[in-house]
């Protein structure tokens, strides 16, 4: 090898090593930095007190996360309850019933939904969902509401995570070998019975994990939710009252976090909570999904 090639070779491999190192280091540094910031609050106020406390008065050293954690849970669970059935049913329809042409029509629809930025969903939520909740849903429930509510947040999130869950489901279903479907059909089952036995029951845990991944995505979503959820400091009383999820807490208050002692610690704890929840959920759910897609591909492991 001449020296020119040798230098190129070393530079190329060095570049690869450095990039790989950066990618692996980012999450580790992130966890370390956030933990380092959040630790003082946890140490002084007690871990359980902080997580379960209901009072939020940063100026008098009261940092109760309960309203935020509950809001986050309500909004994201609401989103899952709305979008999970939609996703499972349309995934079954698209992969088992629909003509190929319909699937190839839906592919760009899913892609565009996935590509629309969060802030656009927020604008849509304000213009479309919020008035609907205010004028139709809340009166129907006999309640007053501004429309900026848990329900509005859930509806917007539900649409946002549909493309994400739907894509995983379609991939799961397409990994099922056709022989299994034919075997069921040749036993004289109807199409729906075949779907139940060879598709849904077989991929059951995979479906649940796909929904779990959708949930983890919903929990961390910031701008769109923040625009429609109301953001008032209280434990939400009903689905049409407003809430204050964790990401909104960070995004609304990071500006003054250095002016009050321990405020920065509290906000970074919120970020750390989001990080831990999403990472743990991602790991667990993806492990299950991986088993399903790899097994049925038949060429791995």
């Amino acid at each position: 090898m001449n020296s020119f090639r040798r230098i190129g070779n070393v530079a190329g491999s060095g570049w690869m090593m450095i990039s790989k190192f950066i990618i692996i280091a980012v999450p580790l540094v992130m966890i370390w930095v956030l933990w380092d910031k959040a630790y003082p609050l946890l140490k002084d106020n007690g871990f359980l007190n902080v997580l379960s406390g209901t009072e939020w008065k940063p100026s008098s050293d009261a940092f109760g996360f309960r309203p935020f954690i509950l809001s986050s849970l309500y909004v994201s669970l609401g989103a899952i309850i709305i979008s999970a059935p939609l996703c499972v049913l349309s995934a079954v329809y698209l992969s088992e019933y629909a003509h190929r042409r319909i699937l190839s029509f839906m592919q760009p629809v899913i892609d565009i939904l996935a590509g629309i930025p969060s802030v656009i969903y927020g604008v849509w939520g304000i213009l479309f969902i919020v008035p609907w909740v205010r004028e139709s849903v809340a009166p129907a429930m006999g309640l007053e509401s501004t429309g900026y509510s848990i329900l509005a947040g859930s509806l917007v999130l539900a649409i946002m995570i549909i493309p994400f869950i739907l894509n995983i489901l379609l991939e799961l279903f397409s990994a099922i070998p056709n022989e299994l479907r034919d075997a069921a059909l040749s036993m004289g089952t109807t199409r729906w019975e075949m779907v139940k036995v060879s598709v849904l029951r077989r991929t059951g845990p995979g479906i649940i994990s796909a929904i779990g991944l959708g949930w983890a995505r919903a929990v961390g979503e910031t701008i769109a939710v923040m625009m429609v959820v109301g953001s008032t400091f209280m434990i939400p009383e009903s689905i049409v009252s407003s809430g204050y999820p964790l990401p909104a807490l960070i995004a609304n208050n990071y500006g003054e976090m250095m002016s009050i002692p321990k405020y920065d610690s509290a906000l970074m704890l919120a970020a750390l909570l989001l990080l831990v929840i999403t990472v743990v959920f991602n790991i667990l759910m993806r492990l299950v999904i991986r088993r399903f897609t790899i097994q049925s591909d038949g060429h791995e492991l």
């Binding site: 090898m1 570049w15 019933y97 629309i116 927020g122 604008v123 910031t222 990071y254 991986r290």
Partner: protein, 267 residues
């Protein structure tokens, strides 16, 4: 089942319809060609050129930075680690998990570091934070394409005396080029649409930045801030800005489809 599929199509329909119907009346040449003038946020003259250009700067910078990290990692996974199946699988898994971290966490992380190192909100801080945020998506998108590069190319390159590094950069990269373009476009779309990271790292300004250490305005934040105004005229401009952002995103995703189709046609 057909109903739920229709609901999904309908949701996209109402989103596009709402944005177009509300945004179009307020969209005019001034919106896209001029900076906010004095009193802009009370409904006076001006446009959101600062945010459009700012978003493009930021997204271009972040995509370039992510590309710098992603290309070698994706190549490494597919040339150097090809024999070690389990390690590649584990690395892919790691990237997928990394992709699941919400953008607000990247924002909070970036903001904390900026305070620690006394860096002001600026274009460069935003580029680094957003670049790191989109890198996992970009690597995985490239990886999907590189996986389909036939083994024969690798063997042919080795038999001609190429080193692994040369094989990676000379042949794998060229073979997967249209796929890499798709990956870049997808990540560009993420970068331009993200609001949570830029909210905490780039600040906001009425001017177009002339250097990397100045704050920069971005479209998602321009939409967000204008919507918060009580003046109907300004809210209307938020809708128009939303329409502009939607059009940019649609163009990008059409481009991505075009290139990915090109790749699979030649394949």
């Amino acid at each position: 089942m057909i109903f739920s599929t229709l609901v999904i199509v309908g949701a996209l329909g109402t989103i596009l319809y709402t944005i177009i119907a509300k945004g179009l009346p307020y969209l005019n040449w001034d919106m896209v060609s001029s900076l906010p003038q004095g009193g802009y946020y009370f409904g006076k003259e001006g446009g959101v050129l600062n945010a459009i250009v700012g978003s493009l700067y930021l997204a271009l910078g972040a995509t370039a930075l992510a590309l710098l990290i992603s290309v070698p990692v994706a190549l490494y996974m597919n040339v150097f680690m090809r024999r070690r199946r389990r390690m590649v699988e584990a690395f892919r898994f790691f990237l997928d998990v990394l992709w699941g971290i919400p953008s607000i966490v990247y924002g909070a992380f970036g903001f904390t570091l900026m305070i620690a190192f006394q860096i002001r909100t600026s274009l460069q801080a935003g580029i680094i934070a957003v670049g790191l945020f989109i890198a996992p998506i970009m690597i995985r998108a490239m990886d999907e394409v590189l996986q389909t590069v036939p083994n024969g190319i690798r063997e042919a390159a080795y038999s001609m005396g190429c080193t692994k590094t040369e094989t990676a950069f000379r042949f794998f990269m060229r073979k997967a080029a249209p796929g890499i373009v798709t990956a870049v476009l997808l990540s560009f779309g993420r970068a331009i649409g993200d609001a949570a990271v830029v909210l905490m790292t780039t600040g906001f300004t009425d001017f177009i930045p002339t250097s990397l250490d100045q704050p920069v305005a971005t479209l998602p934040l321009a939409i967000f801030f204008q919507l918060g105004s009580p003046v109907p005229e300004v809210q209307g401009r938020a809708y128009a800005s939303a329409l502009i952002l939607t059009i940019i995103i649609l163009i990008i995703s059409l481009g991505a489809r075009f290139f990915s189709r090109m790749y699979y046609k030649h394949h």
